[in-house]
Each structure stands twice: as C-alpha cells, then as structure tokens.
C-alpha cells in the first residue's frame, strides 16, 4: 500500500511545487535587492525610509518612459530600451533621492522621528507626481529577450532566471563595495560613529547623501528588473515597502546578512504559498511571523541587541 496515503494532507503535485519555488526565487531575488537598500539606509543613517517603495515605483515608471521612448519614438529594439532603462532609471532615482536628502533629511539633522514623518510626506509627493505625469494606468514593459528553460514538467521563463542571476550579481557587487573598497570603509566608519568620523575628515553629509541615493538606486534596479514581469503602476510601491520592512525586521535592521537570509525565506515562502494556496495567505503568514519576531526577538534574527 502507498505510504503517502496515510498522510493527513495531500502533497502538492511536484510541478506545482517547482513552480512555487521558481516564482519564490524570483521574488526573493528582487526583494533582497529592494530590502538591501532599505537596510543600508537604516544601518548607516538610522533613517527609516517610508518612501522606499516609491523609489521602487519611480524606477519602474521611468523604465516604462525610457523603453517606450526608445522602442516607440526612436524605433530601437526592446533589448536596447531595457538596457538603457536599467542604467538610466536607477541613476535618475538615485539623483532624486540625493536631492531629497539634501533638501529635507539633512535639514532635519537626520532625527529618527522627524525623518519618519518626512519620508511619509515624500511618499505621497512622489506617488501623486507619478499619478499626475504617468497616469493611473498599469503599463507593461517588454522583456529584453524571451526564451524558455525546459524543466521536467514545464518550460520556464529564461528572463525570470536571468533576473535572479542579475540580483545575485548586484548584491555581490554591493557586498564587495561595502567590505573591500575605500567608499565602503568610509560608510562603515560613519555607521559606527558619525561624529568621530567627521573628526577624522569624513564628510558625513556627503556619505549620507550617497547612502540614501544608493538605497533608492537599489530599489529602482529591482523595479526595472521586475517591470517586464509586473506592470508599472503608480501604486506599485506599497507591496515592496511592506515586504522590505518584513524582511529587514526579520533579518535585523541594518544587518546585510540578515536581510539576505530573510529575503530568501520570505520570497520562497511567498512564492510557494501563493502558488499552492492564496497570495493573501502568504502576506498574512509573513505579517504574523514579523509579529512573533517583534515579541520574542525584537532585534531580528541577525540584529544586535540594543544595549
């Protein structure tokens, strides 16, 4: 007799499970990039950037504008439009973030409470600007290439697998920059003690502007990568913001290792649960998990306990 028939639940079909794992991996990769930006900003600047999701949205909307211009007005191929968008959109978003830092956050002396309120304001300003100039419609961006990778059960999008590869590569670059370069060295010194850093010639204001730009730029790269899979929409920043907060709270605010591990966990569980059951159930379980972590281990899985 089949032993599996004694189980109190029905095992999902392997094809469905594989689909869930693959979708979860794509989500985890993009989420890790986006949450990494949020985590770096908090870790170094102690700023909880509530507008982080809107920088993600701006990345997607700008990607649409750029690809639409290149493929439509200029008549270039989709891969060219996407390649330009992948470079230019994050740079524009980073420049907007650096300007925001200079105009608003710096003037608040990076006060933790005041910057939360300020970034809520920035969230609404960016969202309404997108609604005004981009409109309420969700618009697709064509993938730069399209091929399928054959699994034992079905063919899977090659572009999605490339998104995972690109996200891993980018995270590796960020890690190398933070741990092996002079810029990363200066960022870490600023993170540990910004006043002493100034007393040793580190221009903390410029470091903060750069870090805020880097965080927003990472979110924008995540958005450009995902926009051929999900359409660009002015309200699309909400979900990544919620999931990024879930990830950085689970992993420990400011912990890069924690962010990565939590993003993989949340991404995979979201992908599998969404595929097998309901996307809403995945969000409910993730939120419950965060509540449990906040109760039993408020510093997160990899965060340092406050003295």
């Amino acid at each position: 007799m089949d032993l599996l028939s004694y189980l109190p639940f029905t095992l999902p079909h392997p094809a469905l499970l594989l689909a869930g794992v693959l979708e979860g991996t794509v989500l985890a990769a993009v989420l890790a990039l986006t949450a990494l930006g949020l985590s770096i900003v908090f870790g170094i600047m102690r700023v909880v950037n509530v507008a982080h999701g809107e920088f993600y949205m701006l990345g997607a909307v700008l990607a649409w504008f750029i690809t639409h211009t290149i493929t439509g007005a200029v008549g270039g191929p989709p891969w060219l439009g996407f390649a330009v968008a992948l470079i230019v959109a994050p740079l524009i978003v980073a420049a907007i973030a650096a300007t925001t830092d200079w105009l608003i956050l710096k003037r608040l002396n990076y006060d933790p409470e005041a910057t939360i309120v300020a970034t809520i304001g920035i969230l609404y300003i960016l969202q309404q600007l997108a609604l005004t100039f981009y409109g309420p419609d969700a618009r697709p961006v064509e993938a730069p290439f399209d091929f399928r990778v054959q699994t034992p059960y079905f063919g899977y999008s090659g572009y999605k697998l490339c998104v995972v590869g690109a996200a891993i590569l980018l995270m590796l670059v960020v890690w190398l920059v933070l741990t092996r370069t002079k810029i990363g060295f200066v960022m870490r010194a600023t993170q540990y003690d910004s006043e002493t850093a100034q007393a040793f010639g580190i221009p903390v204001d410029k470091v903060y502007a750069g870090v805020f730009a880097l965080g927003a730029g990472l979110a924008a790269i995540g958005a450009v990568l995902i926009v051929p899979i999900q359409q660009a929409h002015y309200l699309m920043g909400g979900d990544p913001l919620l999931l990024s907060f879930i990830v950085v709270i689970l992993g420990g605010l400011g912990s890069l290792k924690g962010t990565l591990v939590a993003a993989i966990f949340i991404g995979l569980s979201d992908g599998i649960i969404s595929t097998l059951y309901e996307p809403t159930l995945a969000k409910i379980l993730a939120t419950l998990l965060v509540a449990m972590v906040l109760v039993f281990r408020p510093q997160g899985l990899f965060g340092a306990r406050a003295a």
């Binding site: 060295f185 010194a189 007393a199 010639g201």
Partner: protein, 232 residues
C-alpha cells in the same frame, strides 16, 4: 598658532561657552581645568567644528577655521582624542589607524612610527578594537590622532579610568610630543597629572575662561586649584 577669541557656543538653546578665549603655541601644553560641566569638552568640540561657534573666531596660523565644515578641520592638522576614546569599536586596530592615516593622506612610514611608539598595537593589528583593554584602547585613540601628524593635538581626559602604568605611558608620550612642533590642549581631571606635564593652565568656569597661569606658579600656589576645581 591656535587662537580662540570670544567664542559663544550652544547645545540647542542652552549656552555652554560664553566668550571663550585662549591661545596655544607650538611645543606648548595648555591644560584646561574646571569642574564638571564647566565647558572643557565643549571647547575642544568647538575647535573641531563638532559644536558650531555662534560668535567669535578660531584661527590656526592666522586662518579662520570656525566657519569650515567639521570634516575640513582635521585636514588642517588638528588631531583629536575624544573623551571615552570613541574608537570605531567594530573595526580592527589596523582599520582604526587607517582612518587616521587617510585623513591627511599619510602612509606606511607614519603608521610604522605609531607602531614603534605604541608597540603593543603591532601585535593586535587584526584584533577588533572594541575587545582591547582600556589602556590599549587609549593608546590606539592616541595613535589614530597622531597618524595625522597634527600641528595641534586635542586630548580629552586621556588618563580617565586607566591604571597607573598606563597613565605613566600616556604622560611619557605627551611629554615627548612637547619637544616637537605640536601644540597640545589637554583636558584632564587629575590635577597631579596636569601639574606634572602642563606648561600653562587655563581655569574655566561656567563656559568662561577665568585665569591662565604658568604651571610652575600653580605648583607653588595650589589654592587656585582649590578655588576653581574644588580639590587641591
């Protein structure tokens, strides 16, 4: 060399320095003495630009540095050993020294000189600085500031919480520096340490400079210390 004239400084709306003024020359050790909260640490922070002076001027060799951003001041050659050491505790000894070297683009030679001055650091280059003993941390804080090859060195309570052998070592290093071109401003609570190495002493009360006296005079007349610090 370094001159402060009529400096007013505030924490928020609270005025901490009122008309602070002093002057220190190359090869001289000026010690700031006063009760807790008198404004000694704030004076050093104001020189470093970490607390902004609202009025008055701070000049280094005739150049006004009071209006410079804080990160430009160490590049002019002012080294700072903060109260409580303020090391980058999660970085290694070597990385802490590197921060000091980077400030004015100093290289390997200066690093070697610091490791000769504080040999115990040579064995601990890869150790995370937060795990060093108090005395070793103080040596690292001094070495990090000396990596700038400063023309002015600000020392904020360098012997605080140290055992006598460490205090003697720090005192020897400071005394050796006096022989060179470095001007030193020392904030110190230990009157015996002050009297043993200072050239001049400036008494501060409520953020205001009260009296500057030669250390020799003070050794003969300890009543001044009693008046301003409360101990003899």
């Amino acid at each position: 060399m370094l001159t402060l004239s009529n400096i007013d400084a505030f924490y928020g709306n609270v005025q901490v320095l009122r008309g602070m003024a002093m002057e220190v020359q190359r090869g001289e050790i000026l010690c700031l003495l006063g009760r807790n909260g008198a404004g000694k640490t704030t004076t050093l922070k104001t020189i470093m630009g970490l607390v902004q002076a609202r009025t008055g001027s701070i000049t280094l060799d005739g150049d006004d540095i009071a209006t410079l951003p804080a990160h430009e001041i160490p590049k002019r050659g002012i080294g700072y050993v903060p109260q409580g050491r303020r090391l980058f505790a999660e970085m290694t000894v070597a990385e802490n020294l590197e921060i000091g070297l980077m400030t004015r683009g100093k290289g390997r030679k200066v690093r070697e000189r610091m490791l000769d001055l504080f040999p115990v650091l040579r064995d601990r280059l890869k150790q995370v600085s937060g795990t060093l003993s108090g005395g070793e941390q103080q040596m690292l804080a001094m070495a990090r500031a000396l990596c700038l090859e400063p023309s002015v060195l600000l020392l904020d309570e360098p012997t605080e919480g140290l055992q006598p052998s460490m205090i003697a070592l720090i005192r020897d290093v400071v005394t050796e520096l006096r022989g060179g071109d470095t001007a030193i401003i020392l904030v110190e609570q230990r009157v015996d340490a002050v009297l043993s190495i200072a050239d001049r002493v400036l008494f501060i009360e409520n953020g205001t400079p009260r009296e500057a006296v030669d250390a020799d005079e003070l050794r003969k007349e300890p009543a001044l210390v009693q008046r301003y610090v409360g101990i003899a």
